[in-house]
Structures are given as C-alpha cells and as structure tokens.
Symmetry: C3
Subunit: 347 residues, 3 copies
C-alpha cells in the first residue's frame, strides 16, 4: 500500500512542510531511511540525520526549528513519537488477517467457537474448549480439554496449552509458550525415590497479557497460577506453580519465579532474575538484572539488585568497593606495615 504525505497529514491532523504528493509504502529508522519510506524524529540526539536521511516523509514535533534545508517532506505534529506509534498501529491493523477454520485442523465437536475465529492447519482443539470472537490460533497449536480463550486473543504457532487453563481477552501468546504444564512437586521417599504430587490446579491468564516465545507457566498443585491483567512477559521465562503476578507487572527475558511466590502490581523485573519460592513482593518494586531475591520485599517502590538482592544504594556501594578490592587489600597491607614500623620504633 502507498500513502501520500497529504493523506497521512490529514489522518494525524498535522501540517505539511514540503511536497504533499510524495508517496511512502514502508517505514524506516531516520538513520537508515530510504526513498519511499516514512520515518520520525523525536530524540534530539538523532536531529543530525534529518539533513542526511533519504526517507521521503519525516514526522517531527510542531516546534522543531530547522538549521538548514531538508530534502524530505516534513509533517509537523504535537508529538512525533506518539503519532508514529499510531501509524504503526494503523499499519499493523491494515495487514490482512487469516480467517476461517483450516480443513486440516482437528476441532472437537464439543467445543464452541465465537464469530470470525481463525484456526490454522494442524491445530488441535480438545473437548469442551470455548473460544471467543475473533480469536486467532496459528498452525500447530495444541489446546487441551476445557480450555477457555476469550475475545480477540492471538495464539501464535506451536503454543501448547494444557487442559482446564483460562486465557483472557486481548492477549498475545508467542510461539513455543507452554501454559499449564505440571508444577515441580515431588515428595522424597525413604529409598531416595521421589513420588510425584499430582498437579490438579490450572493457570488463569487475565486480559491484555503478552507472553514471549518459549516461556513456561506451570499449573497450580491446587487452585490456580495467576497472571493478572496487563502483565507483559518476555521470552524464556519460568513461572512455577501457584505463582501470582500482579497487574501491569513487566518481566524481562529468562527470569524465573519459584513456586507460590506472589508479586505485586506495577513491578519491573529485569532479565535473568531468580526469585525463590513462597515470597511476597510489594507493588511497584524494581529488581535489577541477574538479581537473586531470597527474602520478601515489603516496601512498595523498593529497588533491589544483586544476588542475594540488596537495596540498590547499598548494593552499588558494595559493587564499587568490590571492584576496588585489590586496591583495598594493598591499602590494608600498607596499614599493616605502618603499624609494624610504629611498634618497632616503640621498642
């Protein structure tokens, strides 16, 4: 699809500065801009590229002042980044969507599907599954018995959802995600064997959640592992049985959360963090990358870092000193010889 600067400016309610008839059919970063693409300038750090980019149209903030002449057509808007994001949305929504139920899908006769669903090839839908309107399920997905998936949710290819789990509306589940696998529950026996504890609960994922590729969320032993609305999980994350993650909490890649831990809302947890089991983490907590959290964090808004995780202020001082341990050691050795000298003089 091609759009003129005029059409885009009308949609964004912006002002055109340059050729209103120039056309674009793709987007680009301003530093990599090519003819026929639309780009944007929000960060002043990138302003220099305004004068060198080949992008045909550039969205800029209304108040931008030019140092010299610009070859591209500018569209002046209130907030160039928000305007660009809204165009990305519009573009994403304009992409053709797959529709219908593929003849090589297996859909149980006891399942119910809403309006305008897409069910791709090699999808298996178990007994008594309920799919809402506009649900899109890509090829090779497995949906166990009694699963519920609500309106507008997208399940990408190769996802596996075990029986009895519930997925909310407007979610995006990426390829390779496993939802509802057995929690890691075993009881040691006298002969050093372990006996499996049946995992009879489920996973509940609320609305507007996104889960990244190859993450795994275990079902509860009893009750539910719960991912609250608005949570965003990155790739390769491990969520153990009976964990609960509060609303709008964001977790970066390769982090793992052990069994029965409850995490508050609006938290930001960086990548490769480990949180041990049976803890409570307050709302609005920030946890630095590669941290190991071994105790409850009771104070909302805490910022912790390190393994074991400490308050960030103490931790940063410890890190700085740690880096300087060799210097510290030689200082101590100096002190030692000074004292030796002092004592010898005394004798």
């Amino acid at each position: 699809m091609e759009f003129t600067a005029k059409a885009i400016a009308e949609y964004l309610k912006g002002e055109i500065d340059g050729d209103a008839e120039v056309k674009v059919s793709d987007i680009s970063r301003i530093e990599e801009g090519k003819t026929g693409t639309l780009s944007f300038l929000a960060n002043p750090k990138y302003e220099k590229f305004l004068y060198t980019t080949q992008a045909s149209i550039i969205l800029v903030n209304k108040d931008l002042k030019l140092d010299k002449k610009v070859k591209s057509t500018l569209i002046r808007v209130d907030d160039a980044y928000q305007a660009f994001a809204s165009l990305l949305d519009l573009y994403a929504q304009s992409l053709p969507q797959k529709k219908g139920i593929h003849k090589m899908a297996v859909v149980s006769e006891t399942s119910k599907t809403g309006k305008d669903v897409y069910i791709g090839a090699f999808v298996y839908i178990g007994d008594k599954v309920v799919l809402g309107d506009n649900v899109r399920i890509y090829p090779g997905v497995y949906i166990g018995d009694n699963v519920i998936i609500k309106n507008n949710t997208v399940i990408n290819s190769g996802v596996n959802i075990y029986h009895d789990c519930i997925i909310g509306a407007d979610c995006v589940i990426h390829s390779g995600v496993i939802i509802g696998s057995d929690g890691f529950g075993f009881v040691p026996q006298k002969d050093n064997n372990y006996k499996k504890i049946p995992q009879l609960g489920n996973v509940i994922i609320e609305d507007n959640v996104e889960i990244g590729a190859n993450s795994a969320i275990d079902r509860a032993t009893m009750g539910s592992t719960i991912i609250r609305k608005g949570v965003k999980l990155d790739n390769l994350i491990q969520i153990a049985h009976n964990v609960e993650i509060g609303e709008n909490t964001v977790i970066a890649a390769q982090t793992g959360i052990a069994g029965s831990t409850k995490i508050g809302k609006d938290c930001m947890i960086a990548a490769q963090v480990g949180i041990v089991g049976h803890l409570k983490i307050a709302d609005n907590v920030k946890i630095g990358a590669q941290s190991g959290v071994t105790n409850n964090i009771d104070k909302p808004g805490s910022v912790v870092l390190g393994s074991p995780a400490l308050n960030i202020y103490n931790k940063r001082r410890s890190i700085a000193i740690y880096r300087n341990l060799p210097e510290l050691l030689s200082k101590i050795n100096d002190l030692e010889s000074e004292i030796k000298k002092l004592r010898e003089k005394e004798k």
Copy 2:
C-alpha cells in the same frame, strides 16, 4: 464425581468426626476452602484455618486436639498429608484417559506399538520406532527414526525426540521438551570459521524420569548423554552432550550443565545454576540457586553456593561481609587516619 465422607474414610481407613454423609467433588487448600471441597491439615502453622475454612471435609492427623468447634467434617488418619496425596493419586488415576491412534497421526509401517497406546492427532512416528504398552503420546509430537519409548511413559504435546534416542518406562516428558538435538561441537578453522563435528551419539533416559517444559537435552557426540532412573528435571533446563546425571538427582528450573560433566546420584541442584564442562560432582551434593560450579566436587554431601561456588559456610561468611563492605571500608579509612595521627604525634 462426588464422594461422601463415609466413602473417603473407608478408603483411607480413617475415623469420621462430623457428618458422614457430606459430599465433596473437588479439593482445596485449607485457607481457600469452599463448600463441596476436601482439604487437609498437616502443618500446625495452618491450624487457625481449621476454624474458618468453608471446606466440607478436612483430613487431619489422628492426634489433633481441637481448641473449639469445627464446622467441617474431619477425617482422622495416621498421616494427613500422605493420605491427601494418596487421594490426589486416586483422583488423577480416575480421570478419563485418551485412547487409540488418531486418524491424523502419521505412524511408520516399520514401527511397533504396544497394547493400549494413545497416539494423538498430528503425531509423527518415524521408522523402526518401538512404543511400549500404555504409552501416551499427545498431539503434535515428533518421534524420529529408531526411537524406543518403554511402558507407561507419557509424552505431552509438542515434544520433539530426535532419532535413535531411548526413553525408559514410567517417564513424564512435558510439552516443548527437545531430546537428542545436536551437541554444541565445532572445531575452529584457520579462517575463523567453525567446522561442525557430527553428533552421532544419542540420549538415554532411564525409568521414572520427569522432564519439565521446554528443557533441552543434547545427544552425545559419540556414546550417550544419560539421565539415570528417578531423575526429576524442572522447566527450561539445558543438558549438554555427553552429560550424565545420577539416579534420583533433582534439578530446578533454568539450570544448565555443560558438556561431559558427570553428576552423582541423590544430588539437589537449585534453579539457574551453571556447571561447567568435564567436571565430576559427587553423590548427595547440594548446590544453591544461581551458583556457578567451576571445579570438581569430590566430597559426597558437600553443600556449595555462589559464583564461583564455594563451600556454603565460607560463602555465607563472605556474603555477610560483602553486604557490609561499605562499613568495612569506613573502618579501614578510620584505621588509616588513626595511624596518621599516631605518626604525627611521634614526630
């Protein structure tokens, strides 16, 4: 299914204290108990919930003394937790099992299948595969040529097992697990390229092993990567080529074990641990979460922690001092100024 307190007490050989005719159809945690559910009390910490829970039936230890009246029907048994676990088992076994070979599975004519197997839709079974009795293979599983899977083993949806691997009896393999992918073996060439070493071995998994979602176990270069009987692996674990894990060893999520390392039996390895290649870890060793093990652990029963991993006693002291590094630094600075003063007085 519904059960009366009377029927459950008979099965468990327990004594009823309350209404023998009350019925339950589900289970619950005592702190979340609802009418119509069965719960248990084993940990005295939870005793307070005995008086407030809505659970209809509660399993308790024979010798429990009540402080006040309890609304629920109690069933008194020797060991409430073991009794509850045996009911969970009974319940899990009572769930309907899938049977038969789905018409949209592809099963090579040269493969052999035992009695009462389940092979779901979109399962691919390669040439000369041998499946034991009661093997259950859920939809979307790939089983390469010459694979052997022994009696009663469950392969959940979306598992991939490369050619020539062997899976024992009574195993549970969770969704997304990869067994037998190539080990990471390359030889550097003069032009900075790497040449792949063909990985011609296999993976052998013995009986009674459980492997968690999205874990990956590489085949050996030559010979076998071996997971001994009774091993339990959590989710997202990496087992490299030619590793051997001893009987009944338990490993938590996101741990990785590098090539050719041999781990003893009855070990407990926590989450997010890394163990470098070509090591030997003795029996009965415990390794703390996020540890990095860089040397052999020769002494059975050792407990190590940290990266690099140290004996836990030394490590805990180092951690305590590390937390206090800022105080330690100011102490050293104080000492320094004291000495300065002493020297000046001398002059």
Copy 3:
C-alpha cells in the same frame, strides 16, 4: 555398513599397522572402545587406553611410538583428530536423507520450492515462501508468509519461523527454535497500562549459522535483527529485537542479549551471560560464563568476567580476595586492636 581397515586407510591415505581385513561398523571413544568400532588417539592423556581398548581400529598420529604391543589395528595418519572428524563427516553424509513433500504437509500454492527439498508431515508453508535447493524441513515446522530459506539449510522438527524472516544457506536450525517473534516493546501509559509497539521488522540469518534447541530470536521493531554468517548459537538463548551478532561469533547456552546491542565478529560468549541493551561489543571479545555486561566493550580482544563484568585480570584478583574476605576481616580487626594498644601505650 561395515568398512575394513584397508578401505579406511585408503580413504585417509594412512598406513596400516596390524590386520588390514578387520571390519568396523560403528565409532567409539577410545576409553569405551568395543570390538567392531573405530576410535582415535589424539590427546596423549588418553594414550594408556591404547593398550586396553577393545576398539578394532584406532587412528593415530604418524609419529606415535608404542610402548608395548597393541591388539587393535592402527591406521597412522598426519593428524588423527582431523582424520577422525573427516570420517564422522563422511559417515554423517552417508546416512539416508528424507526426500519429497509429505502428503500431510500444507504448502501454499504461492510458495516456491527448489530442487530435492524435503518437507515432512504436518509442516505448514505460508504464502509466497521461497525454499532453495536441498532444503530439508522436518515434521511439525511452521513457516510464515514471505519467509525465504536458502540452499541446503536444515530446519528440524517443531521450529516456528514468523512471516518475512530470511534464513541463509547451509544453516542448521534445531527443534523448538522460534525466529521472528515480536520484540518486547511497550510504551507505559498514564494509567500504568502498557501499549504494545507493533514489531514490523524481521530477522535475517546469514549463511552457515547453527541455532540450538529452544532458542528465541525476536524480530526488529523496524529494520532487522541480524545474525551474521558463521555464527553458532547453543540452546535456550535469547536474542532480543534489533540485536546484531557479528560473523563467526559463538555463544553458549542460556545467554541473553537485550535489545539493539551490536556484538562484533569472532567473539566467544560463554553460557548464562546477560548483555544489556544498546551496547557495542568489539570484535574478538571473550566473555566468561554468568557474566553481566553493562557497558560497551570498545577494545577488541578484551576478556571480561563477572556481574557486573570486569576485565578478567582485575576480576580474578577480586574473586580471590572475595574468597578470603573472612580472613581479610580478621586481619582488619587485628590491625584495629594493634592501633588501640599503641594509642593506650601513648597515654
């Protein structure tokens, strides 16, 4: 297949020392050698096994001197390890290859396939996909619209490749790999919600790349996430959006690289490393296992270790002192009491 020592010696241009007619049908490690297998001796550490192994044929270096009589037939070559590797290659190439398009694959009519491709059962090939000659796609793979896969590349079972991604020639992609999932891009809103930024770029994988089981490579927001030619990635690795990895760089298992970071060529990155976003790592850098890299590494050939990562020389000194922190503490306490004594004497 069986081979005589004579046939192998002819192929390798080696000299036979022993029975030229002895036959082998498998390979073994020298320390585990059985009758009917071929082994090799390259590392002098293993020389003792030469006199005890049951292997029927052993490749040895031309100049090897024997201490006593050897039962096996020796084949003397210039470089026993290289000769063995070339036999492994020959053997791997001799294994029968799957051919043709399975009748239970779904291949879009608008896609193009080269000569001698293999497309297994339950493979989905989307619209306008282009597959080169000799491409082999194992069962259960998903290939989105507009994907390009070049000559001789092998896609193992259960791989998911999102739309518009490009895979080079001579690549090996292992089971469970996800290529082109959405980058983790969200803009915080005033009500603590996050708004998804559409991820409209792709992933480009150049020639001769190998990617290990269950790794995930996210598509770029705009432009491309790029894996340059000759890169080798191990299992369970996370590559975020807009990352670029330079030629012939090797990365071990469970490492994660955050968004927009550019890694140079010929780097060696060990396992469980984390690298934060928007960094530049120079060529030929080595990063130790479990490191956390938080700053640019500008100097080619740097070797760093630890979290946060430090130059290895400083880091090793810090680690050594860290291990000795308890001793250091008692030294400081000694100094303190010495000074106290000195001051008291003064009074």
